[in-house]
């Protein structure tokens, strides 16, 4: 292949081709340094009494070390418990429903007699995935607004008094779970359907000859073959258990104060602290989220490696 290869098959010299490839990769490498690696070092502001105004580099170097003070404040605040409960609680529900429902629907859509209809349903159900959270929040507003919303009109049509939905915390866990499913369903179905359609059809032919019913085929062929994808999706989701979709929890409830207890997750808290300039606590929460997220991903990857080495990320 290459003339300048030594006996072990390794190239020894730096060639013109290496220089050119380096130049070609340079812009992207610089992007990575600026937007990914600098922030990694920036996490030291979590351990500092950081000031916002003035020169950034100067501030980072000259602000006083405060050790774990920022973290102490964070955990002493009332927010900590609510936020941890919400973040992990919602994620557990999302993980369970986010696997069970799309898998079931993917199994069902694969069985429909009409391929064309199946395609149409899939396309329609994929639509919410392409809407931004701002638009979704406008959609939700059209349904839930107090004086004009469609829900309240239904209520008054049935002779009930209208509700101020954006103040009723007890309903929002259901709304949020519903909206999350609504937006992600089409995407989930595609992933599982891709697995189903790539399965070897001879299994099914053999099963049919043996007289297996549709339910038995699903139970003993399709689901076992899907197991690895399901496990993989599960573990990847577990790896992100400390992060939530900021749009869902901030945009959709319209940052309503009455809903604080049921809608504030780590991402919402970090954003609010950032915007209200409580930099110390914001950077502490954000730092914790990154570190715990990293730990979860590595753990998840370790588990995947034990279950199925080929699916492991690292």
């Amino acid at each position: 292949m290459d003339a300048r290869v030594d006996r072990k098959g390794k190239r020894t010299r730096w060639r013109k081709h290496d220089t050119e490839l380096t130049l070609l990769a340079l812009p992207t490498a610089i992007w990575y340094v600026l937007f990914c690696f600098l922030p990694m070092f920036g996490v030291i502001i979590a351990f500092k009494d950081f000031r916002i105004h003035g020169n950034f580099v100067h501030n980072v170097f000259n602000s006083a070390w405060v050790g774990f003070k920022n973290f102490e404040f964070l955990f002493k605040s009332n927010d900590a418990w609510i936020v941890i409960r919400n973040t992990i609680g919602y994620n557990i529900i999302f993980i369970i429903l986010g696997i069970a429902v799309p898998v079931t629907l993917a199994l069902m859509v694969g069985q429909l007699h009409s391929r064309k209809a199946a395609k149409v349903y899939q396309t329609m159900m994929f639509l919410p995935y392409f809407l931004s959270w701002v638009v979704v929040s406008a959609v939700v507003w059209a349904f839930l607004s107090y004086d004009k919303g469609i829900f309240n009109q239904f209520l008054s049509d049935f002779g009930r008094s209208p509700k101020n939905w954006y103040m009723e915390a007890s309903y929002w866990p259901y709304f949020l779970v519903f909206m999350n499913m609504w937006k992600g369903l089409g995407y989930g179905m595609v992933i599982y359907l891709a697995t189903i359609t790539s399965m070897d059809s001879t299994y099914y032919e053999a099963a049919v000859i043996d007289g297996a019913t549709k339910w038995q085929q699903t139970r003993y062929i399709t689901l076992p073959l899907m197991k690895f994808v399901i496990v993989l999706m599960f573990i990847l989701a577990v790896g992100h258990i400390f992060s939530t979709d900021f749009g869902l929890f901030f945009q959709v409830p319209r940052d309503s104060n009455s809903l604080y207890n049921v809608t504030t997750t780590v991402d919402v808290l970090v954003f609010k602290q950032l915007k209200t300039a409580t930099v110390g606590m914001a950077s502490a929460s954000s730092f914790l989220q990154s570190v715990l997220g990293c730990a979860m991903i590595l753990t998840a990857n370790w588990v995947v490696r034990r279950v199925d080495p080929d699916s492991a990320m690292i």
Binding site: R11, H17, Y121, M124, L131, K214, S290, G293, C294
Partner: protein
């Protein structure tokens, strides 16, 4: 895919689910599909409703009194709307172009087996998938150190590259571009830039389309970067404009008051409710019309992702 062709065979016909079950499944999916579609229809119909009918009887699934006032108003209102549209289009176009170039060039370099710095660059791409500096640190680096606050670049640069996309590209180049093609070009004396731009990119349209579409949709739909970095209303994208209209009913009217018309009069006459939803429709319409045609690219992209993890 094989199921489709074998459907007509006797075996498969025998193997279908029962007629009754089929009907029930269809009903369930019709219901779900409507559930996904109706909200968008509602927004469209509100945007086409007469403002006074909304004020009297609220939003409806179908408009009681049809009216194009909201769109008229937006067109007349002009500057703010066209500016936001311009920002959105510019950010989407520039971001997609820059993103595709940065992503594919790195993907190509990583796909070259006998490149010296392959290991180092792989780590540079890989580490950010596991650990990141978090929102606060990124925010301060981007706004203070890199000076992106209130510039159009704040909307473009942070979203340009994702390691996931780079890996999709690398896998694609590795599996579809024959080594012999690159080697023969090298022997003919072509440099790597020339090979990349005149040989590799033109035969890699499927992956360019996939990455390009992913980027295009994420730039068009992005509102978070605006929320973080943009205070200057002149740099609002459509999403940021809608966001401010949703949180502040009078934003449109306040802007109009600079045009010399009495503030109170304008607030009274402007179609606020329907105008908001009209902006939402202007955002949604291109996406809703475009994505069914590109769905197969998305699906192939997602599948690569699902298989690769």
């Amino acid at each position: 895919m094989s199921t489709q062709t074998s459907y007509d065979s006797g075996l498969d016909k025998f193997n279908r689910i029962g007629r009754g079950t089929n009907v029930i499944f269809h009903l369930i999916f019709i219901l779900l599909a409507l559930l996904c579609l109706i909200p968008v229809v509602v927004v469209l119909s509100i945007s086409l409703s007469d403002e006074s009918s909304i004020r009297e009887s609220g939003y409806h699934i179908l408009p009681t009194v049809l009216s194009g006032d909201a769109y008229n108003y937006i067109v007349k209102q002009g500057s703010m709307m066209t500016r936001a549209l311009g920002v959105s289009v510019l950010v989407t176009a520039a971001g997609t172009l820059i993103g595709v170039l940065l992503t594919t060039s790195m993907g190509y370099v990583l796909s070259r087996p006998n490149y010296k710095l392959n290991g180092l660059l792989t780590w540079i791409v890989f580490i950010p998938m596991i650990f990141n500096g978090g929102l606060v640190s990124s925010y301060y680096i981007n706004s203070s150190l890199l000076g992106l606050k209130n510039t159009i670049w704040a909307l473009i640069l942070p979203l340009a590259v994702s390691s996931f996309n780079v890996i999709i590209c690398r896998t694609f180049f590795k599996s579809t571009i024959p080594d012999g093609l690159i080697e023969s070009a090298e022997i003919d004396g072509a440099g790597q830039f020339r090979i990349y731009f005149t040989i590799v990119l033109p035969i890699s349209l499927p992956v360019l389309a996939t990455i390009g579409l992913f980027l295009c949709f994420s730039y068009w739909n992005d509102w978070f970067q605006s929320l973080l970095y943009i205070d200057d209303q002149n740099l609002y994208s459509l999403q940021a404009l809608l966001n401010s209209l949703m949180s502040n009913v009078d934003a449109l009217a306040r802007n109009a008051s600079t045009m010399g018309v009495s503030y109170a009069q304008l607030v009274a006459t402007m179609p606020k409710e329907s105008a908001r939803m009209a902006v939402a429709i202007i955002i949604v319409l291109p996406v809703a019309l475009a994505y069914p045609f590109f769905q197969k690219y998305f699906i192939s992209g997602l599948t690569v992702g699902a298989v690769k993890g």
